[in-house]
């Protein structure tokens, strides 16, 4: 009981934090003279030394975050395998220690970090894959509007339709990727060996991400559908969209296609309200 020589509360915690977050482990951390005072303030028993006791916390820090990121980026982890994933996360934590109350937020900067990591040089699509998994996770945390009833649309007079504007579900996100990693994501339940044999190709992908009743849907959109949906998302009325598609030489869209799309977007929870300004 040596309270007169006790280090200040903040110094004690800062030093402990430095030791527990050292990726080289406790022994490496304790080679730093600025924290060498600390073990003198830790109680030991005949069976367990202060270093061993520090080691329990040191391991727990890394393993807890590794496990959390593994469940937030399951496809990335499965593809890389335990060893490479561990290596990636150890590097990531050196640059981006957690400053968040919710452990799921730790992965926010992982996609950007992965894009600069040597592993991405080996597998060029890792950055796209981690970006997709981060978008899926953040989509899950967005609120949803109640579904739009398809039956109620039958009441709308035909002449009103061109003025119609759609309100999208707040969970909707569009992302553009350079690799078709959505195939890997959609096959994420496959065994690892099978997943590894999936050939990921460089190909521009326009993905729609939206929450559904159970979880999150990820769907690759063709150029026409992607352009149409993004125009509506940007605030175009249905009439504006039809005029645009009709006058565009680039697209071969028939009015029937738009009807099918709208039905599909409503039933998959992308479109949630209709307004007639």
């Amino acid at each position: 009981m040596a309270s007169e020589i006790a280090p200040p509360w903040s110094k004690l915690q800062e030093s402990l934090q430095k030791i527990l977050t050292d990726s080289g482990g406790v022994n490496n951390a304790l080679s730093n003279p600025s924290v060498q005072f600390l073990p003198h303030f830790l109680a030991e028993t005949s069976t367990v030394s202060a270093r061993e006791r520090l080691g329990v916390y040191c391991d727990a820090y890394f393993l807890r975050i590794l496990e959390s990121l593994g469940s937030d980026f399951p496809t990335l982890k499965e593809f890389l395998g335990d060893k490479n994933f561990r290596h990636l996360i150890a590097d990531y934590l050196k640059d981006h220690p957690s400053r968040f109350k919710n452990i799921s937020l730790i992965g926010e900067r992982l996609p950007k970090f992965v894009s600069r990591h040597p592993l991405n040089r080996k597998f060029g699509f890792l950055s796209d894959l981690s970006r997709l998994e981060w978008e899926v996770l953040s989509c899950l945390y967005r609120d949803r509007l109640s579904p739009l009833n398809l039956e109620s649309l039958r009441q709308i007079p035909e002449k009103s339709w061109p003025k119609a504007r759609f309100i999208f579900d707040p969970s909707v996100r569009f992302i553009e990727l350079d690799w078709d990693v959505d195939r890997l994501w959609n096959e994420r339940m496959l065994a690892r060996a099978k997943k590894r044999s999936l050939k990921i190709k460089k190909s521009e992908r326009s993905l729609l991400i939206v929450r559904d009743h159970q979880w999150v849907q990820v769907r690759a959109l063709g150029l026409e559908e992607s352009t149409a949906l993004k125009r509506l998302h940007g605030g175009a009325s249905l009439g504006n969209l039809c005029d645009f598609l009709e006058n565009s030489r680039k697209f071969q869209v028939k009015p029937g296609d738009i009807q099918v799309w709208i039905h599909d977007w409503i039933s998959s929870g992308v479109l949630k309200r209709l307004v007639f300004p």
């Binding site: 040596a2 309270s3 527990l20 916390y57 807890r64 919710n102 899950l140 945390y141």
Partner: protein
């Protein structure tokens, strides 16, 4: 003078602000089972931070599930990132978000741990030990009172499992915890497994620990499983409750009476039926010691 929000059991029952019997921790693997089968569990506890959204106030699917579960069960919020013992100031944004969540599901009380989780804005996502000094007691009791005022409902601190202790501690953990609760006017969430794990790791008597905890402050108990790691016990929450912890729980029921108890299981989570069996075993111990009265009759 801090406002004492720990009511007598009779008051709490009158206000319907209490959970009773043996509850279970609600974890995502059991969402479907709990929502569709509605198992006969008297109440659930959830990890607060999992329902506070990533950024801002959107809670997304986790919050929708929580609200659906709330329609059928009382739910208590249990946090892991309050960081009450940190050299950093209390995070008011976090506390306000916690308050909104507690109001939304009407959590009868809110709990977190007697620990620190990070300093200089970092979060190590672990329950780190504190030196039990007079300085620490002042800091934590004044913060606990402040937290309870912000939340506007009873707040309780849980004893963590610890693997290291400080030589400059001036009092044992039980004294620190009891004094903090008295000075702050807050409650104690007594984790029986943590008492046992820390007792083995530091060589103190777990029964002496329990005997020094004021019964009128204990508003909830936890039961969980530990693992062996060399000469230490680790609070892994991935095993059934061990026999010595069941024994210690019996002692706690004799000392503290009818206190709502929760089965915690956070890793290698088994089918829901296994948790129900653990809860039934705890209920059997309670009934054997307290008699065959239901909990409302115990007031």
């Amino acid at each position: 003078m801090n406002q004492d929000r720990i009511k007598t059991k009779a008051q709490a029952f009158r206000d319907k602000k209490i959970v009773c019997g043996v509850g279970v921790g609600l974890r995502s693997v059991h969402y479907d089972h709990v929502l569709s089968r509605r198992p006969a569990v008297p109440w659930f506890e959830v990890i607060s931070e999992n329902y506070m959204g990533l950024r801002g106030d959107q809670g997304g699917r986790p919050l929708e599930i929580l609200e659906e579960a709330r329609r059928n069960y009382p739910i208590v919020l249990h946090g892991v990132s309050l960081n009450i013992g940190s050299a950093d100031p209390l995070d008011k944004n976090y506390l306000n978000a916690l308050k909104r969540l507690a109001n939304r599901i009407d959590s009868p009380h809110v709990t977190d741990h007697l620990c620190w989780t990070g300093v200089k804005g970092q979060n190590l996502h672990d329950l780190l030990p504190l030196p039990y000094t007079a300085e620490g007691l002042n800091l934590i009791s004044s913060r606990a009172a402040q937290i309870q005022d912000i939340l506007g409902r009873p707040f309780a601190l849980e004893n963590p499992s610890t693997y290291l202790a400080f030589r400059h501690s001036q009092m044992p953990e039980w004294e620190f915890l009891a004094e903090t609760a008295r000075q702050a006017g807050c409650g104690i969430l007594l984790d029986i497994n943590n008492v046992y794990v820390s007792a083995k790791n530091h060589g103190f008597d777990p029964v002496e620990y329990l005997r020094n905890i004021p019964a009128d402050r204990v508003i909830q108990m936890h039961l969980a499983g530990y693992s062996h790691c060399g000469n230490l016990l680790i609070d892994t929450h991935d095993h059934p409750v061990s026999d010595p912890v069941w024994e210690l729980y019996g002692e706690a029921v004799r000392l503290f009476g009818d206190v709502p108890t929760l089965i915690e299981w956070d890793d290698k989570i088994p089918p829901f039926g296994v948790l129900e069996k653990e809860a039934a075993r705890a209920e059997k111990i309670r009934r054997k010691i307290l008699g065959k009265r239901d909990c409302a009759a115990l007031v």
